[in-house]
Symmetry: C2
Subunit: 269 residues, 2 copies
DNA sequence: AAGTGGTCTAGACCACACG
DNA sequence: GTGTGGTCTAGACCACTTC
């Protein structure tokens, strides 16, 4: 009855920090280093708790965290197996321009180009998701890094959900930051694509017409009600999104960031 | 000593599912709906466990999860307070083309355009991160959706880390999927930008030269060693990345997907 | 039927940060 | 000092699923 295989060589704890973190780290390391391959089974919680001399709860907390990170899959009776990583989806952080610019040591400024209260569908501007005639605030805003335009913002705000924005003049905060600080939201969608800028927009951004730009379209909702729709346009050569992603252990040195204006962030499993 | 304020009106559990999930849901709801605003303090664990008639562990598990999601901040002695959402960073999922195409009911195909073993820096191709003369596999691959080119892939693979790829002919699996299935990795970086396609690339993708394209550059490492560098180029009008993001509760109906070829995915706090 | 994870309890000690 | 979260234990019962 005394089986001590299943775990490739003794799993040792490093004694640093909380027990459940040690256990978590130990298995993360085995998985990342390849000692445990996808499909391999981990010992049952009871066996592990006996082996480590801890309670089952502690083991459970560690392994559950691994499952949350997607490194293993757990099923009753079937046990815990190392997950297949081939279907992993990566994530890319989308940071606020103002934060990004400031964080990289540049000077951030913004300028409101246009600010109108409109009725949806009348007067050119249109937010198809909203019913016609709905009262909206229409905004155009330019964001600068060290005096160079770096993002163009075109925004609709649902005045029925955010009536207090009527009085706001955006002297201190750009519209995006103001909204996040004052209006609650519960869900968000993003759409990201590449576009060739129109002549008009090219002029505002100080680039050549037709140049490739990143367009981020964000829709924000609160309890199912649309709050704001915004399109953010970045010149392709002056802005790019950067993401850094690590599986668990910190033993891999962080690669150097690439490109100009790169923002960095950490994602988890 | 009997204080029952602090929580705006009775926090009631809905009786569905695990206790800790019920507690988690109750507070998520209060926060998302605005009854609890950023800066508001939650009652201490002990008070909550008394109020709900559960153990402190159970409360702890619920609130800790809220903290992981970023909805609240916890500090010893200071207690638990609702977090400020203004510095929230959104995430965008980056899915594999093959999965994306298949999942949307289209027919996925790929074609290897080029496959060469090279020594780094000799013969045109160059992976600056690698030392000169390092043995690499160079690949060019085109991905199709219903017969239309949808992504161009240019890839370097470090043959010292993945020697077994020398024999691989990619009959069944495209290079990306093959690598994920066979070669371990521990960290990844992404860079995303908009580019105007060159004439050469435009020809391969069947679009006009200069058209805006999304470029995703991915570097994969294993224990600090570069494994592969790949550039994925999508025509701007044939592909876009879509991200869906919700804070906790599922009470907000998922907005309808936008645009052609849209992939959807869920991110969490 | 039996093994595995999922959840819960009652109690405990500790580390930290604020007054 | 003292209140708060952070962690841990020993034990328990249950739900699911595969054998």
């Amino acid at each position: 009855m005394i089986e001590e295989r299943a775990i490739p060589r003794a799993v040792t704890l490093d004694g640093e920090g909380p027990l459940f973190k040690q256990i978590e780290r130990a298995f993360t390391s085995l998985i990342v280093k390849g000692s445990l391959k996808p499909g391999d089974r981990l010992p049952a919680e009871e066996q592990l708790s006996a082996q480590f001399g801890t309670s089952r709860q502690t083991v459970n907390k560690a392994i559950t965290e691994l499952a949350n990170q997607g490194l293993v899959t757990r099923r009753r009776r079937a046990g815990t197996v190392v997950a297949d990583r081939s279907n992993h989806t990566f994530v890319l952080p989308i940071v606020d321009v103002a934060d990004d610019v400031a964080q990289n040591g540049h000077v951030y400024e913004f300028k409101i180009l246009e600010r109108r209260v409109i009725l949806n569908g009348r007067g050119g501007a249109d937010w198809t998701e909203q019913e016609e005639g709905a009262p909206l605030l229409y905004l155009e805003c330019l964001h600068f890094s060290d005096g160079r335009p770096i993002q163009f913002e075109r925004r609709f705000v649902n005045l029925r959900v955010a009536p207090s924005i009527r009085e706001e003049t955006f002297r201190d905060l750009p519209p995006g930051k103001w909204l996040f600080a004052h209006i609650p939201w519960s869900s968000v969608t993003h759409r990201l694509r590449a576009i060739n800028v129109t002549e008009d927009l090219a002029g505002k951004l100080g680039i050549s017409p037709g140049a490739a730009c990143l367009s981020v379209e964000r829709r924000t909702y609160h309890l199912g009600e649309p709050v704001t729709l915004v399109q953010l346009v970045h010149p392709g050569d002056r802005y790019d999104l950067n993401g850094f992603f690590t599986q668990g252990t910190d033993d891999a040195p962080a690669p150097t960031p690439t490109g100009p204006n790169g923002s960095r962030a950490r994602g988890k499993g």
